[in-house]
Each structure stands twice: as structure tokens, then as C-alpha cells.
């Protein structure tokens, strides 16, 4: 600890970039799948969900990291849950006040951020052992990695399932329906979200050979 580490050292930058690709919470660690299936029918709720998770994770990670030396190990899981739960309630209340329509669409899934394994995982594995600044970056990175997959899945599901993007009728405007094209109703249902995530994992693994487990 003699030299002060620069804010964006390569080690710190890796905290942000790793979860986007080689250590993605959804496609590599396979966490947070439940919400990824449920709220990716349309882009708007997916983005709000991603931002909500980011807000909760960033605050929780930094708070836990600040308290890490004073949290008694015997009750650390409870302390982590209290921090996450109170942040989730805050986010839920703010959404109800300022984004009522979206909060109705997300309904129970905002509350279920509490049970999102990504959050507990980051607090327990990272924030309990690291300083606030790296914890902050780690939270941004993991929440972005989660949000990125959410947005990719929501993009395809909304485009192919409803023929819209952000509720704007893209396919109708380019006149695709006149050629006999029809929306794929299955894309709206959860199974196709799972299959879409599966395809993303497949593409990612075929590009990153090191992700493939040795037999």
C-alpha cells in the first residue's frame, strides 16, 4: 500500500469490462435468470429494470464496502440483505412516484431484485473484501453486464414478438406485414427468452474459446 493506485488502473478497468463479457453474470455465471425471462418482453421495462438493479447494486456495494470492517461476520448476510432490501423499497417507491406505468409493468419484479443472486453474490464475494472505489466499479460492471443481456434479449423479443421497438411500430413502417410476415407470438412468452439467452451463450462461447470447460 505504498503507492496510490490510479483511479482507472488496468486492474480497476477489468472490474468493469470482465462482467460485460468473460464473467457476465447472466451468460457465464447464469445468475438472475428469473427476472431476465420475465421482464424482457419489451425494451422499456428491461431498461428500467437494468437501471434499477444498477442503482441498488451500486449503493449496496459501496455501503457494504464502507462498513466491511465493522460488520460482525456472524450477521453479515443479514446486514447485506437489510441494505439490499431497503434500497429495493426505495427504488420501488421512486418508480411508483415518477414512472407509474413502468412500475406497473415491472410489478412484482422490482421487489424481487432482493432475491436476485447477482446482488448477494457481489456483496458477499467482492464488497466485503474490497475498498469502496473498486466495489463501486465492480457494481457498475456487473449491473451493466446484467443490463446488457437484458437489453439484447428484450430487443429481439420486442422486435420479433410485437414488431415494435420502444412501442414504435418498426416493422409496420417498413411495410413488412404487406409481404405476409406475421409476428411470432411465441417470442412474447418466457420460453423464448430462455432460448434467446441460450443462443447468446452459444454465440459468446464460440467466440471466447476459454469459456468452454475442459472435458
Amino acid at each position: 500500500m505504498s503507492e496510490k493506485e490510479p483511479l482507472f488502473s488496468s486492474k480497476n478497468l477489468k472490474l468493469i469490462t470482465d462482467p460485460l463479457n468473460t464473467n457476465n453474470p447472466i451468460t457465464v455465471q447464469v445468475l438472475g435468470i428469473c427476472s431476465a425471462l420475465a421482464i424482457t418482453v419489451k425494451l422499456e421495462p428491461a431498461i428500467v429494470m437494468a437501471l434499477s438493479v444498477m442503482a441498488v447494486l451500486v449503493v449496496a456495494n459501496v455501503v457494504i464496502s464502507l462498513l466491511r470492517k465493522s460488520i460482525p461476520p456472524r450477521i453479515r448476510i443479514i446486514v447485506q440483505l437489510v441494505v439490499i432490501a431497503s434500497m429495493v423499497i426505495l427504488v420501488d417507491q421512486v418508480l411508483k412516484a415518477f414512472a407509474y406505468d413502468v412500475s406497473k409493468q415491472l410489478s412484482v419484479f422490482v421487489g424481487l431484485i432482493i432475491t436476485n443472486c447477482i446482488l448477494m453474490g457481489r456483496l458477499e464475494a467482492f464488497a466485503m473484501a474490497n475498498k469502496p472505489w473498486p466495489s463501486f466499479l465492480d457494481a457498475i460492471g456487473n449491473a451493466s453486464g446484467y443490463g446488457l443481456i437484458l437489453i439484447i434479449v428484450a430487443f429481439f423479443r420486442e422486435l420479433l414478438g410485437s414488431g415494435t421497438l420502444f412501442d414504435y411500430p418498426v416493422l409496420e413502417k417498413i411495410g413488412l406485414y404487406k409481404t405476409g410476415y406475421e409476428n411470432n407470438g411465441l417470442m412474447i412468452l418466457p420460453p423464448m427468452a430462455l432460448i434467446t439467452i441460450g443462443i447468446i451463450i452459444w454465440v459468446q462461447r464460440s467466440k471466447n474459446r476459454e469459456l468452454i470447460e475442459e472435458k
Binding site: P72, R74, V82, Y100
Partner: protein, 236 residues
């Protein structure tokens, strides 16, 4: 890792809980007016939807003030109840009371063409949770002008179809009294209503229990307005 005494653990958790509690109560109190306003706007949107006016969240309040010209509360005998704000009546609580103790909100609307519509709320049980909505009537106090329904947790694709325009459009022009003036309510018929039946609409395939719930809701809530509607019809 440092060892912590039991006293420390108790103090630590107490302080943490107090801090969190203060933070959350403050947030809830500060945000409540905004949240309540959102709920009110949604209610206004629903009321407007029953007279076939689509209002966005932004202009719902302006449109409501423009089209809803009067609102009051009546009782089951058809007399006006003074001093009660119709918009503030909590339907969820009212439907638990016996019919003759309930307060029945009535909204009166004047449309662009000068015609007057009367709007009444309905609320009851669906399959999984509450179903609710508004019916608007022409000034003969018999013919339905428009209907809108909503639900909290009916099955998507089945019972939840009551919230679609296709289902709600069926109610337009239906009558709740027969030629002799007897109350018939609106039947939601499984297998489809007979063509031209003025008192029935088609039920939702696969949504039988929600349809039945809605039918019971309509009968229950509308029967409270019979006395008031009859009085108005006589005055004409």
C-alpha cells in the same frame, strides 16, 4: 478476522435498523403525494375510457375536468347523499357492505356533441383477484354507451381479455332493463350470446370463471343503481 462481542452485534444491528427505518419512512412520506396523484390520474383515465375517450397520462386531468361535468353519490333508495365526494369513494370497501348501506358514486359527463352520459363504477371478484371498471349509460338510463374493465391478476390471454377493447366493445348499445322495465343486468354467456340479444354479451373462451365473476360483479353493483335510474327515467 476481528472477533466481535455480542453487545457490539446487538448495538450494530439496532443502529442499522433505526437508520434504515428513518430513511424508508422519510422516503415513503415524501413520495406519497406523488404516488397518490398517479393513482388518481389512472382512475380519471379509466373513467374517461368508459365514455370512449382515450386520455394519456399527461392530459387525463384536463380531459376529466372538461368532460366530467358533475359527480355525486346516491344510496340504494335512489336519493342523493349530500356531503360525500364521489371520486373519493373507496369501492373496495363499499362492496363489502350490504347493498342498502353502500354509497354509489355517479359521474355525469357532457360530450362534445352535447349529449349527456352517466357513468357508474363496478367492482367485484374475478378468478384470482379483483375486477373493476366503469360503465357509461345514455340519458335513457338504460342503454350502455361504453364500458371499460380492468383486473389485477387474471390469467393473461384468458381472463385478462376482459381488459381488451374487443371484449369491452360488445357492451356498447346493450340494455340493462327489459321492455317491461325489469332489471336484467348484462349476462356474459358462455358459448356466445344469441345474436341481437340486448342483455347479453359473449363470454371469453377459457376465461369462464373470470366471465362469471364479472357477470356477478355487474349484477351486484348495477342493482344498487336501479332505484336511482328508475327515478330518473320517470322524470323524463
Amino acid at each position: 478476522m476481528r472477533d466481535f462481542s455480542n453487545t457490539y452485534i446487538f448495538v450494530f444491528s439496532t443502529v442499522l435498523i433505526v437508520v434504515v427505518a428513518v430513511l424508508l419512512s422519510a422516503a415513503a412520506m415524501l413520495l406519497q403525494p406523488l404516488q397518490q396523484r398517479n393513482v388518481e390520474i389512472e382512475k380519471k383515465q379509466n373513467i374517461l375510457a368508459s365514455i370512449n375517450i382515450e386520455a394519456s397520462r399527461k392530459d387525463a386531468e384536463k380531459m376529466y375536468d372538461k368532460y366530467i361535468t358533475n359527480s355525486f353519490v346516491v344510496n340504494a333508495k335512489g336519493d342523493k347523499v349530500e356531503g360525500v365526494d364521489a371520486f373519493g369513494v373507496d369501492m373496495a370497501a363499499e362492496i363489502r357492505k350490504p347493498l342498502d348501506e353502500r354509497e354509489f358514486p355517479v359521474y355525469v359527463s357532457t360530450l362534445d356533441d352535447g349529449s349527456s352520459k352517466v357513468i357508474v363504477p363496478v367492482r367485484g371478484k374475478g378468478l384470482w383477484g379483483p375486477v373493476y371498471g366503469y360503465l357509461s349509460f345514455n340519458d335513457d338510463y338504460n342503454t350502455i354507451y361504453g364500458a371499460t374493465f380492468n383486473h389485477d391478476k387474471e390469467t393473461p390471454g384468458l381472463g385478462a381479455e376482459i381488459a381488451t377493447r374487443t371484449f369491452q366493445k360488445q357492451f356498447d348499445g346493450k340494455k340493462i332493463f327489459d321492455d317491461q322495465g325489469n332489471f336484467t343486468s348484462i349476462l356474459i354467456q358462455k358459448g356466445g350470446a344469441a345474436p341481437g340479444d340486448p342483455h347479453a354479451v359473449d363470454a371469453i373462451s377459457g376465461g369462464t370463471l373470470t366471465s362469471k365473476g364479472l357477470q356477478a360483479t355487474l349484477k351486484d353493483c348495477l342493482s344498487g343503481y336501479i332505484a336511482y335510474f328508475k327515478k330518473q327515467q320517470e322524470q323524463k
